[in-house]
Amino acid sequence: MKRVLVLLLLISMSAALFAGGTSEKGEEIRVLLANHPYGELLKNAIPEFEAETGIKVNVESLQESQLTQKLTTEFATNSSTVDVFMTRPLQEGLLFIKNGWYKSLDSYDFSDYPSNSVDVGTADGKTYIVPLVTEWQVMYYRKDLFAAAGIAVPKTLAELEAAAAKLHSADVAAFGSRGKGAAAVTQISSYIYNFGGNYLENNVAVFDSPEALEGIRYYGRMLAKYGPQGVASMSWENLMPVFQAGKLAMWTDASVFYGQVVDPAKSQVSAENVGVAQLPAGPKGDSPFIVVSWGMGMSSKTKNPDAAQKFLEWATSKELAIQGMLSNITMARNSAWRDATVQARMNPGLIATQAHAAANGYPYDRPFMSAVGQARDLIGEVIIESINTAGESAKLPALAAEKVKAVNDLLKADGEYGGK
């Protein structure tokens, strides 16, 4: 009797080890989405997809950096059950392609996408990422404050500085943009381009050039003199509430935030007082970044390639792209921009700045390399030094040169240095 009891006890204790091991094989996929307006849109539309196809979709939504971490950990440990996921081509594309974590999308029709947006996710003739959302840098500004001060929307960076000097007051900061080291790297990029500099040229770091340094100094000076308090630790999630609270006159950041900026539930500034303008031109250029901020990829380890493919086609379809556009999400598909309803309903400022950026912009907003995470921190140190000294720092060239060397070392360690 006692023996039976002990046996039963052991069995019942070990039963938990096998829980979840068995389940019937229906068509079921696991999808990882970002906490991004388009991710939300997809999440709400997924029941329709399930009803239509009978495929069960298990969705998880994660904040962008957590999404990268989760995907990387699962893929690197070979334990992934993810089938389809949202992905940031410029942040993790190279890393994922290099490690063979994306499945190549040989049968996908890419004809409706701008070719440079597809190129970002292409390596050795194979494409791995469907572009979803594009964003470019714009300047959000307060029309009412501009009218009250009697000034026009600045067209050049010199005019921007003059306008900031006029608009700045103890109560309302004139100019905001990301100052938090690594997060600022993407937003300062257009300033560096407009001063004639760049992060990488032919896969060699060059952000210590006189042109790039001039851009970094300008950015630091503007933020230190006219930025909100504590700007050196602010990213978009800190700047947006300040703008929404009416305490910021101009804010340069990605176009994707327009919908939230004018959301009456979140903003104390009414939509008619918010303008969207293109980033002012610099002395040596007029090339705001225009990038594929989000794409969609399929895991190379997927066990349900057919169901995953179906989901991918649906999630990146033209119909959903139009829905996205109507909720102020700037999609990558060309046809979504040409749609008549979209053109009638979209903010004209967004349409105009998109056209300008598509014609003149630069398709990268950060150094395009596998070790981009570390490179962004290194460049961030230079940005913070510039902000802390209002662009005056005498040691900025030496610091930038030191970081250029460090970024080049990263490129070399990953076998990406030089050439194209």
Binding site: T73, L95, Q229, A232, K247, D377
Partner: protein, 292 residues
């Protein structure tokens, strides 16, 4: 009685077996694996398989000024938090250690910061600390005092984080010390009163020495935890501005999940492991002395 059957004979091994497996699988394995990875150059960004490189990761980390700075920061954060918490917690316990109405309710309120989610605490404190729209700067401006950058300025970020840690963990020390106070017998107090000791003497010569083992226990527990603090710092500053609040744990996190340099990250973590281990042993030795 003659024991019969496999199970009866081996019960003493069988019953602890699940617990043993649990410890091996979930505690020993990760530490061992981290140690193993720390001797490789595993970096996902290179796309190459990992290679054994001996102590290279350790040497690279020790040569990194950022690591030395993070090490110093870890200790300054821990010690300033612990000292303030131990002093405040003991004072709080002494104040609360008397009979009054609503004692239960006060203890419950003290427990609240302890059971709050760190990320939620981080978000709320960040709202307080916001330099432009935050509550604390508003209060400072009402009182006519200069405003502070709080967590957004390099010079004030560590004290600001210490303040949050103190807010959250002082009650824990107070509760432990309160339990210790309840265990002190009344006899030494009675005889000291007979000998004519005043309140200050009673405190320094009776209460404090008898409480010391309890306080030290609380301090050890807190210190081990504080050395490894991650959640609050990550939620509030992510190690910023710049690297101004980057502790060893935050640095290791960045090296693994943002830089994907797993070899270097493991080396950093092995350092932290030994620091915490040495620290714990050291405090245990000190505590032994008090118990004699």
């Amino acid at each position: 009685m003659i024991k019969s059957g496999f199970f009866e004979r081996n019960l003493r091994f069988l019953f602890p077996l699940p617990a043993l497996l649990f410890v091996l699988l979930l505690m020993v394995f990760p530490v061992g694996y981290t140690l193993a990875v720390s001797f490789t150059d595993w970096a996902l960004t290179s796309g190459r398989p990992m290679k054994f490189v001996g102590f290279e990761s350790y040497i690279r980390i020790l040569r990194e000024p950022r690591f030395i700075a993070a090490l110093g920061r870890t200790f300054s954060f821990t010690f300033s938090a612990i000292i303030v918490e131990a002093v405040l917690g003991t004072i709080l316990a002494l104040i609360l250690n008397r009979e009054y109405k609503a004692k239960g309710a006060v203890k419950l309120i003290l427990l609240l910061p302890l059971v709050s989610t760190p990320v939620a605490i981080g978000i709320v404190w960040n709202l307080f600390y916001d330099p432009t729209i935050g509550f604390l700067n508003y209060v400072l401006s009402l009182m006519g005092l200069p405003q502070s950058g709080w967590v957004s300025a390099a010079s004030t970020v560590i004290p600001s984080l210490v303040l949050v840690d103190v807010w959250q963990w002082t009650p824990m020390i107070a509760l432990i010390v309160l339990a210790g106070l309840a265990g002190i017998s009344s006899e030494p107090y009675e005889s000291s009163r007979v000998d004519g000791a005043n309140a200050v003497q009673t405190f320094f010569y009776i209460t404090l020495p008898m409480l010391m083992p309890t306080i030290l226990t609380a301090v050890i527990l807190r210190a081990i935890d504080a050395l490894k603090t991650f959640d609050i710092i990550y939620a509030m500053t992510g190690g910023g501005p710049g690297y101004a609040s980057e502790t060893i744990n935050i640095m290791a996190f960045k090296y693994s999940f943002e830089y994907f340099s797993l070899g270097l990250a493991s080396a950093i973590l092995v350092f932290l492991f030994f620091i915490v281990l040495l620290f714990s042993i050291g405090v245990l030795v000190v505590r032994k002395k008090f118990e004699v």
